[in-house]
């Protein structure tokens, strides 16, 4: 190989259970506009059927298994890790759970989380006594 020295290849058997799979952290860009938060996450090879996006209060969690299609021959150089993608983000604002959009295109997940309408500043009445 040209730039990198060959990576050692793990000899672990392919019969690992899901819990033993190495956790992969997708790299992310996060943008905030007036009415939504948009996230772009790099998840090459993520299985679209196994992809899950869950929202719990103000935390959004993204998870998906990742595996390359097996190739014949000997693996002589490895930079791509296989395993399970997982990443959680704390959200700065209340999110409209009903209108979250997730699209996986060419291995990039695009999450659009619209801010909820009620999230604006609330006026709290003060009783004078």
């Amino acid at each position: 190989m040209s730039e990198q020295s060959p990576t050692r290849v793990s000899s672990r058997a392919k019969t690992e259970s899901a819990a033993d799979l190495p956790q992969l952290t997708p790299q992310a860009d996060v943008f905030a506009s007036g009415d939504a938060i948009v996230m772009l996450l790099d998840m090459p090879g993520a299985d679209p059927d196994g992809l899950s996006v869950t929202l719990d209060r103000r935390q959004v969690t993204i998870a998906a298994p990742m595996g390359l299609s097996p190739a014949a021959g000997t693996l002589v150089h490895r930079e791509i890790q296989e395993g399970r993608y997982r990443r959680a983000f704390a959200l700065p604002d209340d999110v409209d759970e009903e209108h979250i959009a997730a699209a996986l295109t060419d291995g990039t997940l695009r999450l659009t989380l619209p801010k909820s309408k009620q999230a604006g500043a609330k006026k709290i009445p003060v009783n004078l006594q």
Partner: protein, 158 residues
């Protein structure tokens, strides 16, 4: 300025020094192995896995968010070059605040040297789920040939 010392006039390494140097060298090797095992290899955009067999090489490249139309693959003899550009950040509406920027953006280039020459006319490429896979067959005249060994009767000794 350095004045070269003739080899013969260098003092020989004596006493405990050879052993100490050997120990240091071994400790350095241990430290390197430890680092390689614990710190993940940092890879620029376009991580690559490569498999080889007698007939072909298979290359996988992780290129998430790259439009296939913007991807340029060239194969010459034993060198594969991947070029492209990622511009999905441009789809974000103007005026949005960037809260986190971890992903590489813009043009990229990766060049890979294969252990053998491949037939550039017969390369197959597919791009699925952000992973580019190239099947790179070796030319028929280049693939290793099994050499048949015939055993001859040993000539009788005189």
């Amino acid at each position: 300025m350095l004045i070269p010392v003739p080899v013969e006039s260098r003092p020989p390494v004596e006493g405990r020094w050879p052993m100490l140097l050997r120990d240091l060298s071994r400790a350095q090797g241990d430290a390197n192995r430890f680092l390689h095992a614990t710190v993940p290899l940092q890879v620029e955009f376009g991580a690559i896995n490569l498999w080889t067999s007698a007939e072909r090489a298979v290359l996988s490249a992780a290129l998430p968010g790259v439009d296939a139309d913007e991807l340029d693959v060239s194969v010459q003899r034993a060198t594969v070059v991947l070029r492209g550009r990622r511009r999905d950040r441009e789809t974000i509406e103007e005026g949005a605040t960037l809260l986190r920027a971890e992903r590489a953006h813009g043009p990229f280039m990766r060049s890979v040297s294969l252990p053998f020459r491949v037939d550039s006319d017969k390369v197959e490429a597919r791009f699925e789920l952000g992973v580019l896979t190239l099947e790179l067959p070796r030319p028929a005249e280049d693939t290793p040939r099994q050499i048949k060994i015939t055993r001859s009767q040993r000539s009788p000794s005189k």
